[in-house]
């Protein structure tokens, strides 16, 4: 199959820009696994995805993996799923825990960076670090997505190149994982924002 056969009915202005774009995704869990698939479907040229973790049974409640993928590294499972949907998106996957040096090393030439971590500590680390090294690259983060319902409370806060998607208030209650639908809303808003930033870049 040729890419011309695959990519039909695409936006004549935005799609060529998405094809040339590189998007970094830090984390391949509830947010990252869904964001990666959305961006691959839209036709982003290259995704750089990092995560140290493996798929567990409890992840299936909100993460874009299958029963057969339990035990696999999440980045490999994401790559496997994307290859089945869009074989034309280039994937660079890294099985590692990100720190200051790794962030600088892996994501220095992305057009948009997406924070898709689970813990507040990791989210904060990425913002502090990425904003310092790459203050002009759009960084799209998530904060506040626990529970269900209240879709209308999920919003985007922007300051310069930093965007935060979420309600900035819903906290996880003891032992209860985030729930698929609300995680997916935030993931879709992050992906949508990334597509918008890339499409607007040269306009």
């Amino acid at each position: 199959m040729k890419s011309q056969e695959y990519f039909l009915e695409r936006d004549p202005i935005a799609f060529p820009l998405w094809q040339k774009a590189v998007v970094g995704i830090a984390g391949a869990g509830g947010l990252g696994s869904n964001i990666a698939m959305l961006l691959a479907r839209a036709g982003i040229g290259k995704l750089i995805i990092s995560d140290f973790d493996v798929v567990t049974l409890s992840n299936l409640g909100r993460q874009a993996f299958t029963l057969e993928q339990v035990g696999m590294h999440k980045v490999e499972a994401v790559a496997q799923n994307i290859a089945k949907v869009n074989p034309f998106t280039l994937l660079e996957i890294h099985k590692l825990r990100l720190d200051d040096d790794k962030v600088r090393q892996l994501f220095h030439n992305v057009d948009v960076m997406i924070e898709a971590f689970d813990t507040a500590d990791a989210k904060t680390m990425l913002i502090e670090c990425f904003s310092r090294y790459f203050p002009d690259i759009p960084l799209i983060c998530a904060s506040g997505l626990a529970g269900y319902g209240r879709s209308e409370e999920i919003r985007i806060v922007q300051d310069g190149s930093l965007y935060v998607v979420g309600d900035q208030s819903s906290q996880l209650r003891g032992g209860i994982a985030p729930i698929s639908a609300r995680v997916m809303i935030v993931a879709a808003m992050q992906a949508n924002l990334a597509l918008e930033r890339i499409a607007c870049k040269s306009s």
Partner: protein, 68 residues
């Protein structure tokens, strides 16, 4: 006239030597994980007590919450 700064869109009184930590205390922001930006620049957590806020600054405080 009282000198001011803006914190998350709210006008607040500013005073000479006011630090990021003072601003967080003023707003009762006690959340464990915050991201603070002053006039568009991120302030690292370890610098909250030593970073002074200029008069008229735009301060953004984002609450970072686990879940993803």
């Amino acid at each position: 006239m009282q000198k001011q700064l803006t914190i998350n869109g709210h006008l607040k009184p500013w005073r000479e030597g006011m630090t990021v930590q003072d601003a967080l205390d003023l707003m009762n922001y006690t959340f464990r994980m915050l991201v603070v930006k002053i006039n568009g620049k991120v302030v690292l957590r370890q610098d909250y007590a030593s970073t002074q806020i200029p008069e008229g600054a735009e301060v953004l405080v984002i609450h970072m919450i686990s879940g993803g």
